[in-house]
């Protein structure tokens, strides 16, 4: 149980209790996390303001867009100041401005000593902000190192190239040609 107090988690799918409003949901999460009531309300208001959701705080979550729900999930994961933050595809559904904020936030949190572990298929983003990379293929770790070391080791300039070599078995050019041929036939 103790580890949960130090953990913030954003799942891949934004499953939320849609009969609650954004504010109600976050207040409930703060209570479940055993946070102090008055300070947590202030913190929630601040997060909603910074994520641009304050005007919609009393609107039911069923009316929120995917990006808005993602911001609620991020707020719920961060509000208790966790030491370890697990983010599963955190950029999914976010608008450009929010993506930039989140990208910068991840770096900022890491600089403040938090461990941020996030999974993503956006290799460019990963390349820009991560210090350490783990590549999984068929459930097994095929790479576990810093980007610089991997670049040197694999003699490849980009993460996309490294990933393609380690985890993509198919010739994607050939497969794409085959698909196009198939639907043309």
């Amino acid at each position: 149980m103790a580890f949960r107090r130090r953990l913030g988690y954003v799942p891949e799918e934004p499953h939320l209790y849609t009969h609650l409003s954004g504010m109600e949901y976050l207040v409930m999460v703060s209570a479940l996390r055993d946070m102090d009531r008055s300070s947590s309300i202030e913190r929630i208001r601040g997060l909603l303001r910074l994520f641009g959701l304050y005007g919609d705080r009393d609107v039911s979550l069923s009316s929120y867009s995917k990006g808005m729900r993602q911001k609620i999930l991020l707020s719920a994961a961060l509000m208790h100041n966790p030491d370890l933050i697990l983010l599963d595809e955190p950029f999914s559904g976010l608008d450009v401005a929010s993506s930039l904020i989140l990208r910068s936030l991840i770096v900022e949190l890491a600089n403040r000593g938090k461990v941020v572990l996030f999974s993503s298929h956006e290799l460019e983003t990963v390349e820009r902000i991560c210090s350490h990379i783990v590549i999984l293929h068929r459930g097994r770790i095929v790479a576990d190192d810093s980007i610089e070391s991997l670049r040197t080791l694999m003699e490849l300039p980009t993460l996309e190239g490294i990933f393609s070599q380690l985890a993509v078995e198919q010739d994607f050019f050939a497969v794409s040609r085959e698909i196009a041929d198939l639907i043309h036939a």
């Binding site: 149980m1 103790a2 949960r4 107090r5 953990l7 988690y9 799942p11 799918e13 499953h15 939320l16 209790y17 849609t18 009969h19 609650l20 409003s21 504010m23 109600e24 207040v27 409930m28 999460v29 703060s30 209570a31 479940l32 996390r33 055993d34 946070m35 009531r37 705080r57 009393d58 609107v59 039911s60 069923s62 009316s63 719920a76």
Partner: protein, 558 residues
């Protein structure tokens, strides 16, 4: 042409299967929960009841009965069948029209709107039809033997069967048409947002109305009662008697007293059928765009956040979550109103004649009042327990997994607190507000204290094995026998409840006896609480998914 027809047929079959299964809300079920199994359970229950009803005829033979007894039996089966059909239609209220998911999934596909419409309607009619079939599968074969007209012999008995089955099907269809007509006209005449808001209330009212009529309608199965001038206005509003007349007409046993009722049944059927067809056609052609544009109830603009202080954080969070779920989830509200309706009907059924029993008296609290409050307390707690086991947005319960930072016993305390606030406290407030002024004050206070202790004891009993947060644990068919056990117990113990009310009335006359009763209940609650806490203390955490218990079978090979 032939190929197009085949394609339409295939589309119909696929959609029909999907919509029939959607009568059950699949999102409630555990990963290993099977909707077919759940439907099978319901069918088994109806079939078993049918067999029980058929048993007297099978054991004693189907001799002819006196006319009044025959009419009573005919009316009972017709009325029960119609109520079952009506209840199933009301309970599957949301499946009458395609929802946003249907429209979004099916709109890009080359499926005709007419096929979608026909599949939806057919699936919707299939559920009450199957229930009617299951409920009458034995009784509908055995009992019509005794319903044949006098001196009609073997052919009369043969005629009674189709007459009975046609009548029950038409009676069921009448109620299904009526419910659809009401829903369809409301959807067409009201603005979309208003309809969405009112729809849940219409459903709850329909449910209570069906139950009230079934349990409270007077017995008029005699020629004298049916022809009495003072009953004519009442009969005009009781469709089960119309179909009793229709059955007599089809059976060839028509009595002059029933002729106007048969006529009314045909008119009612035609009007409700026409209304349902018009309302549904209009709704389909006018509603589909609205379903996409305005899928859900939009929030009010001037809504103020509401944060009542409900105690310590976890208690408050669980109580508010439960309260908001009950207030905002149509499904949970429907189930709750089903229980509330039943309770209301039972209370009214007990006191409908001696309404004077409710009148304040200076000598003591009336037994009717004690019985009503006893029932209210029991039903409130049990309804909460049952409705809490039905989840909402099951895939969202991950938040309770990742925020479980306290031991399970604290969650159980929070659930206990929420049930006191949402179940026991409202009952006590109603009782205190309604009757405090009229009765002797000390007796009322004694009664309220007794009800509080009883409520707490019941909560402790209900918390046995409930290591969950309300509305978050998946539902596994086969483990949810509580509904049936509950109603079976209630029916058996109704008599006992009356004894209990009389006992409490006797106890309240003396302060010492009253204190002893309260202490006994409190001791029971404390003992049960200790037991629950010991049990919860040994568990690892919250239960968020119901699973079949592992079964080990020993082959005894040693």
């Amino acid at each position: 042409m032939h190929k197009a027809w085949d394609t339409q047929k295939q589309h119909f079959r696929v959609l029909y299967d999907v919509f029939l299964m959607r009568v059950i809300d699949l999102e409630l079920l555990s990963p290993n929960g099977d909707p077919t199994r759940l439907m099978g359970q319901f069918a088994t229950i109806f079939t078993s009841i049918s067999f029980l009803f058929a048993l007297p005829i099978i054991l004693l033979g189907g001799g002819r009965m006196p006319m009044t007894a025959r009419w009573t039996a005919e009316h009972f089966f017709l009325e029960t069948t119609m109520t079952i059909a009506g209840l199933i239609t009301v309970l599957s209220w949301d499946s009458a029209f395609p929802d946003r998911r249907d429209v979004l999934v099916l709109a890009p596909l080359p499926v005709r709107t007419s096929t979608l419409f026909l599949a939806k309607i057919s699936a919707m009619f299939a559920a009450p039809f199957l229930a009617i079939l299951a409920f009458n599968i034995f009784s509908g074969v055995a009992w019509p033997l005794t319903f044949s007209s006098e001196h009609s012999g073997f052919f009369g008995a043969l005629r009674a069967w189709p007459a009975y089955w046609i009548t029950i099907m038409l009676g069921g269809a009448f109620l299904v048409f009526t419910v659809l007509g009401i829903q369809g006209f409301a959807a067409n005449l009201l603005p979309r947002q208003l309809f969405l808001r009112l729809s849940a209330w219409l459903q709850a009212i329909s449910l209570c109305l069906l139950l009230s009529v079934y349990f409270l309608e007077p017995s008029l199965e005699s020629p004298a009662a049916l022809t009495a001038q003072e009953n004519q206005r009442l009969l005009a509003w009781l469709p089960s008697y119309w179909f009793l007349g229709l059955f007599q007409q089809l059976n060839g046993s028509m009595h002059p007293a029933l002729a106007p009722l048969a006529k009314r049944a045909w008119i009612g059927l035609a009007v409700s059928g026409f209304a349902a067809c018009v309302a549904l056609l209009l709704a389909y052609f006018r509603m589909l765009p609205k379903i996409i544009e305005q899928p859900d109830i939009l929030p009010g603009r001037s809504k103020r956040p509401w944060f009542p202080n409900l105690g310590r954080s976890l208690n408050g969070a669980i109580t508010l979550f439960s309260l908001r779920t009950l207030l905002r989830s149509r499904q949970h509200r429907t189930i709750l109103s089903f229980y509330a309706g039943f309770g209301f009907v039972i209370v009214l059924g007990y006191v409908k004649v001696p309404f004077v029993g409710w009148m304040p008296s200076k000598t003591g609290i009336s037994i009717a009042f004690l019985l009503a409050s006893l029932l209210m307390a029991i039903l409130a707690v049990l309804a909460l327990r049952i409705v809490a086991s039905i989840p909402i947005s099951l895939r969202a319960n991950w938040i309770f997994r990742v925020t479980e930072v306290r031991p399970a016993r604290l969650y159980q305390n929070a659930v206990r607190y929420s049930w006191v606030v949402l179940g026991v406290a409202p009952v006590l407030l109603i009782l205190a507000g309604g009757f405090l002024a009229g009765y002797p004050r000390m007796q009322v206070l004694g009664h309220l204290a007794t009800m509080l202790c009883l409520g707490i004891l019941l909560i402790e009993i209900c918390l046995y094995g409930f290591q969950k947060v309300p509305f978050t644990c998946s539902y596994l068919p086969g483990k949810a026998n509580l509904h049936f056990a509950f109603w079976a117990c209630l029916m058996v113990f109704l008599r006992l409840l009356q004894e209990g009310a009389e006992f409490e009335g006797h106890v309240l006359e003396d302060a010492v006896r009253c204190c002893i009763l309260i202490c006994t209940l409190m001791a029971g609650a404390a003992g049960m609480r200790w037991f629950n806490q010991t049990r919860t203390g040994s568990t690892e955490g919250l239960l968020l998914e119901e699973e079949d218990e592992a079964v080990l079978v020993s082959l005894n090979l040693n």
